[in-house]
Subunit: 197 residues, 2 copies
Amino acid sequence: MSSNRDIDALIDMMAKLPGLGPRSARRAVLHMIRKKTLVLHPLTELLQAVALNVRECVNCGNLGSGAVCDICASEKRANGELCVVEDVADLWAMERSGVFRGRYHVLGGTLSALDAVGPEELRIPRLIERVSSEGITEVILALNATVDGQTTAHYIADQLDGHVRLTSLAQGVPIGGELDYLDDGTISAALKARKAV
Amino acid sequence: MSSNRDIDALIDMMAKLPGLGPRSARRAVLHMIRKKTLVLHPLTELLQAVALNVRECVNCGNLGSGAVCDICASEKRANGELCVVEDVADLWAMERSGVFRGRYHVLGGTLSALDAVGPEELRIPRLIERVSSEGITEVILALNATVDGQTTAHYIADQLDGHVRLTSLAQGVPIGGELDYLDDGTISAALKARKAV
């Protein structure tokens, strides 16, 4: 396409990243080639650094540079609250909100009979271990409000029932949300969970 | 954000690429970290290869691995036709159509009084040189149908007038286009250039 093997291979590789397609990959690659010193070289170095340094925390599944991630290593985060998320992206989203000050447990997916994903594949045994060994008082199930996410939440709740306080994120109208644009399920959940003003 | 300096720097860098934002950069970076062997390592190697091997053709401004690009090096492409484009991305778009068999000349932008881009910044002197030295019989002005593109086309046409046959891409209804969705300018251009069936 570009009459150069390396450029074509790079475009193909970039186009396979989530959120990119052939067109945006071409634009990104051209931009990188035009700005070799400002973009291409620093980007290559960062990819090398990430490949070399970043690994999964053995404790919670978060990404970090040591065997144990910064959150697990920090004593300040040991407040007895443990937030269970599906994915590192969900952990980052929680951290961006800046409200939660406890620790996390990244499952690495959701239970799925179809894809043969059982509890063993999901770091669930490690979760049960942590609840007793780390003196956890509350487990917050921050799983996605999808069928698979809720199935997984129910399974974990069953496993931990009686051992610890279990909570889940509130469901309702998102901040800035307009009723007219919300689905029936969200409105119905918000109505059921209505509170006194 | 991710509590890791390298990951944050990589996300910031990726988010600045055209077509990506913070959200898609986060998704792409997580995908790369999850697939270190399949994505992260090959991508790093390709970026290194491109940084090392790819450079601008001294003749036409296309990207390639030698001092002169494959198209300029190929005798088959010396059919006397020279297609003038703004950008390497436009050259790639022309090549994808697979119809043009001549050579290209990449201007590297358009004339712009506001941004102080004059003919010297745009490889226009080199174009005039090539027209006489390469035995060019037709110059096809394939510049974008924008104000800047058309200003540049007029300037080049002035410079080359009388030396060579000058053409430009036809304007009209795009293939698959619906009249109802086309702007007035396109419909008016298509009507003026109407042809017998």
